[in-house]
Amino acid sequence: MNTMRTGFGSRMSAWVRTWLRLQGHALFSSLGRLWRTPWMTLVTVLVIAVTLVLPLAFYLVLKNLHALSERIENHWQVSFYLEPQVDRKTAGKLLGKLRNDGAVAEARLIDKETGLAWFRRYSGFGDVLQALPDNPLPIVIEVLPKREWEDPEKLASLVERWQRWKGVDFVQWDMRWLQRLKAWLDLAERGAMLAGVILGSAALLVVGNTVRLEIEDRRREIEVMLLLGATNRFVRRPFLYLGFWYGCIGGGLAWILVFGLYLGLRPQVDRLAGLYDGLYHLRFATPGEIAIFWGWAVLLGMAAAWLVVSRYLWSLRHSPA
């Protein structure tokens, strides 16, 4: 019993050692092969990197837009501009009515004086107002709807109802703008996904074609190996590693290129963001995202190699040699 177990264990570990040795051999011999034709390798890797740059860049743009729109979407604020003749007392009643409205989470009143003070501070037209005898600003009530009303269509119907209240001049909410942004984001997301798929297949084709040429080059070698008892797996292995290196180096290079783009764009975006309220900083990918995309690139390279070699091995078996 005991001897059987150790026998099995040592056979197992011998098998694992053999496996690891073959993997290591294939890993470095394929790297050596790439090194032997440096220009060819460089061009291939560059082409792969360039095809991967676009989907990556798209992804980052979308990520930033999402982050931006999330900030905006927090502002479901609705402003009631009351008619000029409405006084403070009537406005207080309206405020109470709104606070009792089931759709309202929060409401606050901005009286004429506060409004004027803000206007002076932010508009830059303070001097002009100074010259006016009366305060021309209406009383404003700002309302934040409850969570369940945070939806463009629902809110639109709500706003329509409020619009008809007595004493309300107009109710403002920039719905269209939000809706448009959302639609654009959806479109961009779909486009980016499509571009990712198309360009990913392009990378697949590039790796596949390179591996095909390599197979063409090593046709004799493959034939001899099969005659000497090589399994399909043994024949496939160096090519899989070739795909691995293409994916790995191409993916890494793509990230470097995208990082270059990011560094180039960041000052512009900072300046642009500075013109609006807050400072928005362009975001780069997290280490996790980098790892995932890189992994995908490696997988892509290996998948392309696997497909091409398997197809070739299949054709060997099914054609009269």
Partner: protein
Amino acid sequence: MLRFDQVSKRYPGSGEVLSGVSFAVERGQMAFITGHSGAGKSTVLRLAALIERPSRGNILLAGKDVTRIAAHAIPFLRRRLGLIFQDYRLLHDRSVFDNVALPLLIAGYGPEEIERRTRAALDKVGLAGFERRYPITLSGGEQQRVGIARAIATRPPLILADEPTGNLDPDLSVEIMEMFRDFNRIGITFLIASHDQGLVSRFADQVIHLEHGRLV
């Protein structure tokens, strides 16, 4: 060691290349296949090496029926065979050492074992010291000896050789055959296709003669 039972073979789009061929090569034999060009000698060897499958009949290797063996099992059977070719089939971008070591690498031997067996095989064919040379820098006879070293490196019980001396001059051919006979004496079975009558009558224990795909 090797048995053909009523084996027939037709290639896609060809007539019957072999018709009902039956023979057996016993362990320890030095057997030759002879016959005119196109008689089917290479086809017999390709069937024995499982490069082709028979259209009819059965093939037994070391007592095991391999006629309908699954494709994924073939590599493991091939490792128990040594194959030698008329055109040597060496890899020109690899050194002599790497060429001979290839079947050992494929069979999964460790580096020390590969080193030891490769050197031993090269030594046996008289090419000790040629490890770092490349096949193109060798004469035809030397290249064929590399091919032989590669075939014996895994110490297979059976070696199949298709006109191994077809490209060599008579003296070299005899030298190669003598080398085969030495290996045969230590227990390796040989099946050799040849149309050199002189060699066949001098070295054969057994002759399988084919004419138009039939045993005569």
